[in-house]
């Protein structure tokens, strides 16, 4: 293939399939910030290429080929993120955007070399699992958004959403990182904001922030 747009469509589809393995066009459009019409267009092409199953007005599915292509894109993305973070020393709030471009520009050979250098990492800097060359995903602990914790519950951060630089920058600043313990001290019904304890220090965070941080579900 080798087509940045198509690769981005496949990644978005793969990462947003529902429990039936389907996705609706408007979700794709929203994630890619393009019109629904453009998505319809592209879905027809992807179907002709054999990457998706497309029937008008029905949920979109990935074919086996589409899924494996998409999974490989996710692999590329996350291996780049680990590499940029661990080897190049780029902060975790910068690696996602950089990887979003590099993922389309590297040979499988390069990705494999990076993986070896990194000694086969299983998770990216934000806690997302990295598919192996064979397409297998490592197990990831059950988790839920921090926003769902009850008052006085404590849990451990195991994943954060990685697509917004300023979000990551801010949570780093207040001491949130992977494996960090967080306690919810107070939940406010009015705006769902909460007071949390990190390293003994109290912070007020919005519901939207809490929705993008994921903690262990024991």
């Amino acid at each position: 293939m080798k087509n940045i747009s198509k690769e981005d469509y496949l990644s978005v589809i793969f990462k947003n399939l529902n429990y039936d393995g389907e996705i609706k066009p408007n979700i794709i459009a929203a994630k890619l910030s393009i019109s629904n019409a453009a998505v319809t267009d592209m879905l027809k092409k992807l179907a002709k290429d054999g990457f998706v199953v497309y029937k008008r007005y029905k949920g979109i599915q990935l074919t086996e080929e589409g899924e494996s292509y998409a999974r490989n894109m996710v692999r590329r993305h996350r291996i780049w993120e680990v590499f940029l973070n661990q080897v190049v020393g780029m902060p975790w709030d910068k690696v996602h955007d950089e990887a979003n471009r590099l993922e389309h520009s590297s040979s499988d050979d390069l990705i494999d070399r990076l993986e070896v250098m990194l000694d086969y990492p299983e998770y990216d800097p934000h806690g997302d699992p990295i598919p192996s060359k064979e397409g297998k995903l490592p197990k990831i602990k059950k988790h839920r958004p921090l926003s769902e914790l009850k008052e006085n519950e404590t849990s451990t951060v195991i994943r954060v959403n990685d697509f917004d630089e300023s979000f990551l920058k801010y949570i780093s600043k207040i001491g949130i990182k992977l494996k960090e313990k967080i306690t919810v001290k107070e939940r406010r019904t009015f705006d769902k904001s909460m007071e949390i304890l990190i390293n003994g220090k109290p912070w007020n965070i919005s519901n939207k922030l809490a929705q993008n941080i994921f903690v262990e579900m024991k």
Copy 2:
């Protein structure tokens, strides 16, 4: 800018300017393997963008902005090559193609980080000089193609053309690398092929091969 095509045009123009700082469209077309018509088209766009000076039927020049953009592209390319070769362990015959894609997909910040990691390298794996962030090129020794050496002359390889994988693979195989000494034992007028000595071993090489290897001019 951020446009792969335009970046490639600027690189090719920069690397192929004649001594008057000009280049003709057909050279660009040949280097990019596209039609002359496409080049005329794009030159108009690049002129409108302020990157080149374009007057119908005249030699093309880079503006100051165009030159600095192009120089930075060359910098990106060569830093990637060094990184891939030295850090990732990719052989020198593979790094050019990989860098040709990565050069368009990396932030200046990433390039600068790679440069620091590599401790400000001055030459790429093929002996080409790397422009500094400020656009300065390190001095490179005077050199000439191996094909111009006289019989029984010996000289040191300081640069090789990097755009053909099989060429690089072959010359590696027969022991040619940077800083290697080569002696010309015999030159044949018929096809300009020559017998050379590398590490005491004799090899027959074609004129075309010899034209792509550059040795010190003392």
